[in-house]
Amino acid sequence: MSDADHSLYVRRSDEGIMVITIYVDDLVVGGDNDNLGEHVKNLLKQKFDMKDLGELKFFLGMEVIRTPEGIWLLQR
C-alpha cells in the first residue's frame, strides 16, 4: 500500500514492478512485466469473482486512448 494514496498498491521485485489502483470495485493493473501482470490478475480472479475488461479504455469517467505518440485522456 502506498503512503501517498491508500488505494494504490505497488509491488517491486526482481521480476518487475506491478501497480494496482482500486476504485471500490474497479481496478487498473499496470506494470513492466506482462507475464507477472497476468499472474497477479489470475490470483485476483481466484480470490474474487472478477471480470477482466482487457486493456484500459474507461476509468472514472475518463476515456483512455493509446496511440504511438502517447496516451490521450478525454473527459466529457
Partner: protein, 157 residues
C-alpha cells in the same frame, strides 16, 4: 462509470441472466427465516430498478428496454446514533490514476482493467442485521418473519 460502449452495455445486459445470489456462499441472507423478536436492525426490503436499453440475449437487431432490479435495504430508514456507522471503501485519487497512466506512457507499460462482480457481496457483516422478506417473495405461512443478512446489501450503512 460514465461512458460505456455498446459492447460493454451488452455485457451488462447479459449479466442479467446470472443471478447474483446463485452461489450458496454469496447468498445475502441465511436460509432460515427468523422470528421478529428483536426490534433493532430490521431494514425494509425494496427493489431499486435500473432501466437499460439494448438487445436482448439471442435476439440481435431487436432493441428492448430491460429493467434490472436489485434488492436493496432502505438505508435511509436507519437512524443516526442507533444503527449508523461509517462506511469504508477504497477510493483512488484522480491524481494517482493520472500518475500511473503517465508512468505507463513514459515506460511503455500495458494497462489493464478489471472489475469485481457484485462487490457488495464480498463485504462480511460484522453486525446482526435483519431484513423484511423481499416484496413478492414472502413466506405465506410466516409473512412477518424476517431474513438474517449474511452479506451486505446496497443501502446498508
Amino acid at each position: 462509470m460514465v461512458a460505456k460502449n455498446v459492447g460493454q452495455q451488452l455485457q451488462t445486459l447479459s449479466g442479467l441472466q446470472e443471478s447474483p445470489f446463485s452461489g450458496s456462499t454469496n447468498r445475502p441472507w441465511s436460509g432460515r427465516l427468523h422470528h421478529n423478536s428483536s426490534p433493532t436492525n430490521i431494514g425494509d426490503a425494496s427493489y431499486k430498478g435500473k432501466e437499460k436499453v439494448g438487445e436482448p440475449l439471442g435476439m440481435p437487431n431487436i432493441s428492448a428496454r430491460v429493467v434490472q432490479d436489485a434488492l436493496v435495504d432502505k438505508g435511509y430508514a436507519q437512524t443516526h446514533g442507533i444503527d449508523y456507522e461509517e462506511t469504508f471503501a477504497p477510493v483512488v485519487k484522480m491524481a494517482t490514476v493520472r500518475a500511473v497512466i503517465a508512468m505507463a506512457a513514459s515506460r511503455g507499460w500495458v494497462l489493464h482493467q478489471m472489475d469485481v462482480k457484485n462487490a457488495f457481496l464480498h463485504g462480511e457483516l460484522q453486525e446482526e442485521v435483519y431484513l423484511d422478506q423481499p416484496p413478492g417473495y414472502e413466506d405465506m405461512n410466516h409473512p412477518y418473519y424476517v431474513c438474517k443478512l449474511r452479506k451486505a446489501l446496497y443501502g446498508l450503512k
